[in-house]
Symmetry: C2
Subunit: 352 residues, 2 copies
Amino acid sequence: MNDRFLKACRREPVDCTPVWLMRQAGRYMAEYRKLRERHPILEMIKTPELAAEVTLQPVRAFDLDAAIIFSDILPVLECLGLPLTFISGKGPVIERPVTTASDVDALPAEADRTPLNPTVEAVRLVRRELDGRTPLIGFSGAPFTLACYAIEGGSSRDFEQARLFMIREPAAWHGLMERLATVIADYLCAQVDAGAQAVQLFDSWAGLLNPMDYKRFAQPYSHRILSRVRQHADVPVIHFATGSSGILPELKEAGGTVIGIDSRTDLGRARSLLGSDIAVQGNLDPVYLLAGPEAFSSHVDHILKTGGTMPGHIFNLGHGVLKQTPVEHVRALVDMVHERSQRPHAGSAPGP
Amino acid sequence: MNDRFLKACRREPVDCTPVWLMRQAGRYMAEYRKLRERHPILEMIKTPELAAEVTLQPVRAFDLDAAIIFSDILPVLECLGLPLTFISGKGPVIERPVTTASDVDALPAEADRTPLNPTVEAVRLVRRELDGRTPLIGFSGAPFTLACYAIEGGSSRDFEQARLFMIREPAAWHGLMERLATVIADYLCAQVDAGAQAVQLFDSWAGLLNPMDYKRFAQPYSHRILSRVRQHADVPVIHFATGSSGILPELKEAGGTVIGIDSRTDLGRARSLLGSDIAVQGNLDPVYLLAGPEAFSSHVDHILKTGGTMPGHIFNLGHGVLKQTPVEHVRALVDMVHERSQRPHAGSAPGP
């Protein structure tokens, strides 16, 4: 069994730096595109066999140290009675966004977990298929990021409407966050019960907040979720946000075994700021992966060097793989990380 | 004459914290909307009398400590033969974006300064009109941000195309940056010669870069511009970027008398990181200004407290005023900053 990833999460010695890539299953792979021709994105997510197949595609194609379940962060909103559609070229659309305090009051008192069942089932299928060879990561969006979509009604550069709602209607905001936190914690625990050996909490837009607002409006809910998962089972938890240079200490406070660092942050500075009692994941710019090995070679060296100053580094991108990325670039990156980070005396490899 | 702003730029004692607001002239003011009904945005910028009038509107309406010339960062691109249009609801569009290295080679060897003349003339008109009562700030976009628009062809969340070009075509990138740096430095010096008493360099998207890329692809050109302006005249230079928590030391290295801090960064942390030998400007979230005095009161206190730990703080937003902002909120903010930051013994006010 390849346990490099799980060891690095626990800051234990590894034979070389483990690597997986956010959005490693996706449109850049021909196998994926072939399935997508016949199935809309929500159908792929909602059909356990399809989600499982897509999850496994990159694990078969590359020497990755972890699989991550194929899904999306938004189906959690369906549990609160907020149906969504994906419109080609526009991305996700929440059909009836939350725009007033009474919209929050009108949400069902009891969340409906059924929209998440297919993903939990897919976790079970993938885990069985992998048979312990590669660890499987489950995930969910964090409450702040999901609330942003629920209020804004879709994607946005700054989520101004959502942040305005948060400021003007703090009671309703906290009500929405409470509901999201409960269903997200349940969802992550269900994925762990189904076989996920680690989970990642994606707080994609938390970097839009300054530390004061993050602590007041987002941190308590992420903290509650991360604590509940850790109480439920002894699995590593990766806590990730983009544009998060300004709130790294607060992200750590909220919890997580590993902090995911985005591409704009220098990994060495992040490590000094976070201290040696936590692992880090990251942080190659996906644009470099798209540009190719010649372009990313020196960045890989820099990331391995700064990430490797303390135990507990998982190599990853700072954000998801871009859809135009050639598969050979992905293969070259994964192999480069392994080759250049070999520590023959640290892992279980026999001595000379 | 009100010289609080200029004193704070030089880190000299002031009677209270000076305040001005990015995009303080704009659609949130009825006087502005009335003019905009009759004139498209580019006509407003290109007609010195209109630009001057719009510049003065907020200075007449509120107790602001500085005026900033009404213009846009993009007309600089016209100097390189890249015409632009503003499409309602879509924003700026560069008609023939730079997409290949040969597009850079095909740019005119000698930049045409005439597209910038109306703004320089507007500076002259405003300076005469203000007659020393309120200092006037000139500005330009920074080369990185302008190159992003030139390549991407318009606005974008991540400017992926532009950053990919930068990585794949470094020689062409540097060629484009060279040309931009020359015309921007000339432009800022011309504004100073026309009467601008300070200038701001807006590197709106520099926060998309990690420190390594910023140093390689952007910093040398901003540094050259900021040095040339300082050699040309003894005027304060404000250096601003958004999402810049991760590159603050590099922004300081590039130059500037004042570093503009965006809303996502804690001002106190920025001050400790930057040190006491530089002034700071910022950093209320524009969404708070939109939400109103009850919402922004505690944030104003926090910003005045953390900004005031060392001499040299100019109060501002972390980004531009949002167009839906009620004018009473702007008035309340300006007055609140002045009232709550009074230092009766520090300025020129007589003792008791």
